[in-house]
C-alpha cells in the first residue's frame, strides 16, 4: 500500500486525495447579512462554533466535477469509476425517463412539448470503430452499416427499441449520425493547417483528436501544447454541428438538445466535459454568463451500448439489421445542405460518402493519410516512402520529389504511451543544469548542443494516438477477454486468460470489420486529381459545406471548427500562496484575530 492510500480511503465516495490536482478555488465571499436586524454587540459562542456574524465561510464540501477530472490518479482510484459513471448508459435511461421528449413534426420545423422546460430533442452520433467492434462481436460477416441500423432501431424504434418502454414510451432519438461525416471536414481542415505557410503554425503539428493524448500533454508536458493541431476532433465537430444547426433552425436554445455520442474509449467522456467545447465559444445569443452548454452531453462506449439495451430488457443481437421502415424515419433534417452532408442520400456519389478508408490510413481517422495524399496530388509524380520504426506503432513517411529525389515532406505516426515518451522528449526545450556551474543540457542532447532541434525530429506532422493499434483498440471497445469475444474466437474452455497473441488476433477481426466495404462504398478511397478527390473525399465539397454552415449560423468559421488547450497547473506540494493563507485564516474562528 502506498503511503497516501489507506484502507479507509477505499469507498465509493469522492474524497479529494492528498495529491488532488485541482487547484483550490477561492469563492467570492458571501454577502453580509441583511442589516435589518440590529447587529448584536455581544454574542455567546459555544466552543467550536462559528460566530453568526462572521464573514468567514466554512469551506463547502469539496466538489470535483468531471470537467476538472483528468484521471491523473491523484484521487483515490476507486472513485474514478464514480466520476466516469456520471456519463453512462444509466444516465441515458434516466434522461429518457425524465420528461417527454421534443418531437419534430413532419413539417420539420414544429416541435411538440416545447412548453415543458425539461423536454429535450435527442440526437446521437456514433464512431465507426464502435460499429466495427460490435460487428466483430456479432460475427457472421456483419457490416458496419448493418450495425448502424441495429443501433438506430435500439434508439428510435418505437416497437423494438428504447422508445418501446420506460416512463415516457415514445421517447427516443431523432437523428443518429456517423462521425465519419464530420471526420471528412476534420481531415480537410487538418491538412489545410499543416500545409499552410503561416508562421503561426509550429512544426511538427501534432494530431489532437485523441483526448487521452491531449489530457496527458496538458498535465505532464505542457511545452507540447503549441504544437497541437487546433482542429476539433470529429466528436467535437459533430457536436457543434448538430447543436448550432438545430438550435438555429428550430429556434431552441442548445440546452434543449441532448447529444449522445458513442465512442471507443473512456477518455472521450473527459473530452466531452471540456469547457472549450461548449456553446460559450460560439453562442452569441446568450447573455447570461453560464458555464456553457456542452456540445456533447454524454459519451458512452461500445460495451455500454450492450448494457443500455439490457437495461430495458432488449436483446441487442436480435435487432433488425435493415434500416428503419419509412414510417418510423425522422423528418428530413431542418437544413437541406447540412442534412445532405450528414445523411448522404443513397444515390450520392462516393465522393460525398467517404465512409470507408484503406488500411494504410490506420484506424484512428486517417489524418496523416489524408495529408500525405493531398501532397501526392499536389506534386504529381512524387512517391511515398514508408519506414517502420522501432515497433509496429512507429512509422515514418517521406514524400520524395520525382526529379531530384529530394524530400518534400516528412511525417510520422506515433501510437502508444511508450512511443509518445520518445516523441515528447525530443520536443522538450533545454533547461539549465541543476549542477552548480550551470552547464545546460537538453533531455536528449549533450551539453553545448542546441536542444530541441537537430536531425532527430524534422517531421512536419506527427499523428499521435494513445492506444497502440489505434482507436479500434480503444479502452471502451469489446476486448478479447469479454465472453462475447471469447465465444466468437473460440478461445473459451480450458485456456486461462487470453494472452497477447489472442488479443492481436481479436484486434485483427475488429480491424477487418472496420476496413471492409459494402458494394456501395467500394470506390471510396481513391485519390484522383482529375475528379478532385483525395482519399475518397472531395475537399471542395467540404469547404462549400463549411461555408454554408458558417453563414447559416452567423458564426465565424474559426469559432466553429477550432479549439484551444490549456496547461494544468497542480498545487500539490507547493508552498501556500497568500490567497490560500487568507482562506485558511478566514476559516478559523474569529477570522484569525
Amino acid at each position: 500500500m502506498s503511503a497516501i492510500l489507506s484502507a479507509d480511503d477505499l469507498n465509493d465516495f469522492i474524497s479529494p486525495g492528498v495529491a488532488c490536482i485541482k487547484p483550490i478555488e477561492t469563492l467570492p465571499s458571501a454577502p453580509p447579512p441583511p442589516s435589518s436586524s440590529e447587529p448584536l454587540e455581544f454574542e455567546v459562542i459555544l466552543d467550536g462554533q462559528q460566530p453568526s456574524s462572521s464573514t468567514s465561510q466554512s469551506a463547502g464540501p469539496a466538489q470535483i466535477s468531471l470537467t476538472d477530472c483528468l484521471a491523473c490518479s491523484g484521487c483515490v482510484t476507486t472513485a474514478e469509476a464514480v466520476l466516469v459513471s456520471l456519463q453512462s448508459h444509466n444516465e441515458v435511461v434516466s434522461l429518457l425517463d425524465s420528461a417527454p421528449s421534443l418531437v419534430l413534426q413532419p413539417d420539420n420545423s414544429t416541435l411538440t412539448n416545447l412548453d415543458n422546460p425539461s423536454s429535450k430533442l435527442f440526437v446521437c452520433s456514433i464512431s465507426p470503430q464502435v460499429l466495427a467492434s460490435l460487428a466483430a462481436a456479432i460475427g457472421n460477416n456483419t457490416t458496419q452499416s448493418q450495425v448502424m441500423n441495429m443501433i438506430t432501431h435500439l434508439l428510435s424504434n418505437p416497437d423494438l427499441g428504447l422508445p418501446s418502454g420506460g416512463k415516457y414510451p415514445g421517447n427516443g432519438f431523432t437523428y443518429i449520425v456517423s462521425t465519419n461525416r464530420a471526420r471528412g471536414a476534420c481531415l480537410v481542415l487538418g491538412s489545410d493547417e499543416v500545409l499552410s505557410t503561416s508562421s503561426d503554425i509550429k512544426k511538427p503539428v501534432l494530431t489532437s483528436s485523441c483526448p487521452g493524448w491531449v489530457c496527458y500533454a496538458e498535465k505532464t508536458h505542457p511545452y507540447v501544447l503549441p504544437y497541437l493541431s487546433k482542429v476539433k476532433s470529429p466528436q467535437a465537430l459533430t457536436g457543434t454541428l448538430l447543436k448550432t444547426t438545430l438550435s438555429k433552425t428550430l429556434g431552441i436554445s442548445p440546452d434543449r438538445i441532448w447529444h449522445l455520442s458513442i465512442m471507443p474509449c473512456f477518455d472521450k467522456k473527459l473530452e466531452a466535459s471540456r469547457e472549450e467545447l461548449t456553446d460559450s465559444v460560439w453562442n452569441n445569443s446568450t447573455t447570461k454568463p453560464t458555464k456553457g452548454v456542452r456540445d456533447v452531453d454524454c459519451v458512452i462506449t461500445s460495451k455500454e451500448i450492450l448494457m443500455l439495451a439490457e437495461s430495458r430488457n432488449i436483446n441487442f443481437f436480435s435487432l433488425p439489421k435493415t434500416p428503419l421502415p419509412p414510417s418510423q424515419q425522422p423528418p428530413p433534417f431542418p437544413n437541406k445542405a447540412i442534412g445532405d452532408f450528414l445523411f448522404p442520400p443513397a444515390a450520392t456519389s462516393s465522393s460525398k460518402r467517404n465512409e470507408q478508408q484503406t488500411p494504410s490510413a490506420g484506424t484512428s481517422g486517417g489524418n496523416l493519410h489524408f495529408i500525405l495524399h493531398t501532397l501526392l496530388s499536389q506534386h504529381p509524380g512524387s512517391h511515398l516512402q514508408t519506414t517502420r520504426g522501432r515497433n509496429a506503432d512507429v512509422v515514418e513517411y517521406s514524400i520524395l520529389s520525382p526529379a531530384t529525389g529530394e524530400t518534400i515532406f516528412k511525417a510520422a505516426r506515433y501510437y502508444g504511451f511508450r512511443n509518445i515518451q520518445n516523441l515528447v522528449r525530443k520536443l522538450k526545450p533545454a533547461k539549465p543544469s541543476r549542477m552548480p556551474g550551470g552547464k545546460p543540457f537538453g533531455s536528449a542532447r549533450r551539453p553545448g548542443k542546441t536542444a530541441g532541434t537537430g536531425n532527430a525530429l524534422d517531421f512536419s506532422y506527427v499523428e499521435v494516438m494513445a492506444c497502440p493499434g489505434g482507436c479500434t483498440n480503444g479502452g471502451g471497445q469489446i476486448k478479447v477477454d469479454d465472453p462475447i469475444a471469447l465465444e466468437r474466437m473460440g478461445f473459451g474452455g480450458t485456456e486461462t486468460k487470453p494472452g497477447p497473441q489472442e488479443q492481436k488476433a481479436w484486434l485483427e477481426v475488429v480491424d477487418e470489420a472496420y476496413f471492409s466495404a459494402d458494394e456501395a462504398q467500394q470506390n471510396g478511397s481513391d485519390t484522383d486529381a482529375g475528379s478532385g478527390l483525395i482519399a475518397g473525399i472531395s475537399p471542395s465539397y467540404i469547404r462549400d459545406t463549411l461555408k454554408v454552415w458558417s453563414d447559416m449560423t452567423e458564426v465565424p468559421l474559426d469559432k466553429l471548427v477550432y479549439t484551444t488547450y490549456r496547461e494544468v497547473v497542480s498545487d500539490v506540494g507547493k508552498t501556500q500562496t497568500d490567497t490560500e493563507r487568507v482562506v485558511q485564516l478566514a476559516g478559523k474562528i474569529g477570522g484569525g484575530w
Partner: protein, 392 residues
C-alpha cells in the same frame, strides 16, 4: 560440507554520516558505488577508500544505482566505452552519469573534500549527462541487462519502464550521442514495484509456437505479492511470461536478490523463498512455470531487506531490520538450505539495508586467485566488507 564463517575485513572510509541504501560493485572494475541521501559515493575496492562522488543531480534521495555493463564485456576493454552509472531517485527520475574519460581510474588517495567545498574536483570527474523522466513518482530500483543495452526502472506508480541505450558508432571518439529511448512501459503489476533485476547472461533465446523470444529475462517484485518475469518477443514487445504468486509467510515487501544461474536452472531469491524455473511449453503464449524449489530457514527476527545470491559460490546472504547478516548454503545431496554463518549486530544496532557479494581486489587476496567478499550497507552510514572463510 565445511563450515563457513564471516569475519570483518574492512570498513569503507569515510563514514557517510547518513543512511546508506545500496552498494553496487562494478561488473569487473574495482569500484563500488554506494547510495546515500542525494549522493552516490564511489569507493575503490583496492584500498576501501573513497574514489569519487556524484552530487547535485537529484532533488530527493537516491535509492538505487547500477553500473552499465559495457558491450564488449571484457575487463580489458575499459578504454573503449565510457564508464556510466545510472542513479534511481525518489524524485521519480533516473540520472545517467558519465565518468570523465581523461581522469585516471586509479586515483591516489586525496585529502577528503567535503561536498560543499565548491565541488570543483568532483564535478569534473562525474558528469550528469541525462535525465530519464517519465515515472509518476518514486523510483525504487533499476537494473541493466547483461549486455548493457536495456535498462529497467520501476516505481511506486506500479509500472516498469524499459529503456534502450542507442549508441552511434562506438569507434567515434568524439561525441558519443547520449540517446536513450523508451522501449516499453509495463503496467501489469497491481502495486508498487519494489525491485527489478535482469538475469545474468543466458546464451539461449527461446522459441515457442513459432515466435522467438530474446535471451534477456527481467524479473520484477511488487507489493502486489507477485514476482513477474518478462521477455522481449520478436516484434520488440516485452511481455509477461510468468507470474510467481506468494508463498507461505509472504510479507508485503518483496526484495529480490540477484538472479542466478547454476546447474541449468535459473533462480531468484525472494524473502524466505527461492524459486527454480521450469518452462512449460503447453500454453499458447509463452508462459513459464516456476516451481518453488526450496525455502531458506527462518532466522531473521524482523523484515529481510536484502538478498544476495552469489553466482560464483552459490551462497545466499540476507540482511535486514534486525541488524543480522546470515549466510546459507544449499546441500548438494538433499537440496535443503542450511544456515552456515550469521553475524548479529553487524552494524551495531542499525538496520542493514543491503547485502551484496563482491569480488575482492584488496591486497589480502593471493596472486591469481579470485575471491569473494560480502559487502553490507547500513543505516549507520557505514559500508562494511566481510571475508568469507571456509573451514575453521
Amino acid at each position: 560440507m565445511p563450515p563457513i564463517s564471516l569475519h570483518p575485513l574492512a570498513t569503507f572510509t569515510p563514514d557517510l554520516y547518513t543512511r546508506a541504501w545500496q552498494s553496487t560493485p562494478h561488473p569487473y572494475l574495482p569500484l563500488l558505488a554506494t547510495t546515500h541521501d542525494k549522493t552516490v559515493t564511489v569507493f575503490s575496492l583496492v584500498d576501501f577508500s573513497k574514489h569519487s562522488s556524484l552530487t547535485g543531480g537529484h532533488s530527493r534521495s537516491i535509492r538505487s544505482c547500477a553500473w552499465q555493463p559495457s558491450p564488449s564485456s571484457s575487463s580489458s576493454q575499459s578504454n573503449q566505452s565510457k564508464l556510466r552509472l545510472v542513479t534511481g531517485s525518489f524524485d521519480s527520475t533516473a540520472g545517467i552519469w558519465t565518468y570523465n574519460p581523461s581522469a585516471a581510474l586509479e586515483k591516489p588517495i586525496t585529502t577528503t573534500n567535503k561536498d560543499d567545498d565548491g565541488g570543483g574536483e568532483d564535478e569534473e570527474e562525474w558528469e550528469f549527462t541525462l535525465v530519464l523522466e517519465g515515472h509518476e513518482n518514486e523510483l525504487k530500483s533499476l537494473s541493466f541487462s547483461p549486455s548493457g543495452q536495456y535498462l529497467a526502472t520501476c516505481s511506486r506508480d506500479k509500472s516498469i519502464w524499459i529503456w534502450e541505450h542507442l549508441t552511434g558508432s562506438e569507434d567515434d571518439e568524439e561525441e558519443e550521442e547520449e540517446d536513450w529511448e523508451t522501449v516499453a512501459v509495463l503496467n501489469e503489476h497491481d502495486g508498487d514495484v519494489k525491485t527489478v533485476a535482469f538475469a545474468p547472461q543466458f546464451p539461449t533465446e527461446k522459441k515457442h509456437n513459432g515466435r522467438r523470444y530474446g535471451s534477456d529475462v527481467l524479473a520484477s517484485g511488487s507489493y502486489d505479492d507477485t514476482v513477474r518475469m518478462w521477455r522481449e518477443d520478436q516484434d520488440g514487445e516485452w511481455t509477461c511470461v510468468g507470474v510467481l504468486g506468494g508463498h507461505e509467510g509472504t510479507r508485503k515487501r518483496r526484495r529480490m536478490g540477484g538472479m542466478k544461474r547454476g546447474r541449468g536452472e535459473r533462480g531468484i531469491g525472494g524473502i524466505g523463498g527461492r524459486w527454480g524455473g521450469i518452462p512449460n511449453t503447453m500454453r499458447r503464449s509463452l508462459r513459464e512455470e516456476w516451481e518453488c524449489k526450496g525455502e531458506l530457514p527462518k532466522v531473521h527476527t524482523r523484515e529481510i531487506y536484502s538478498v544476495a545470491w552469489s553466482g560464483r559460490t552459490g551462497l545466499v546472504a540476507t540482511g535486514g531490520g534486525d541488524g543480522m547478516v546470515v549466510v546459507y548454503e544449499e546441500d548438494g545431496e538433499t537440496g535443503r538450505w542450511e544456515v552456515k554463518a550469521r553475524v548479529e549486530m553487524a552494524h551495531g544496532p542499525y538496520e542493514i539495508n543491503h547485502v551484496v557479494w563482491c569480488r575482492r581486489f584488496d591486497k589480502g587476496v593471493m596472486e591469481g586467485r579470485e575471491e569473494e567478499m560480502l559487502v553490507t550497507t547500513g543505516d549507520d552510514g557505514v559500508v562494511r566488507a566481510w571475508e568469507v572463510r571456509m573451514g575453521e
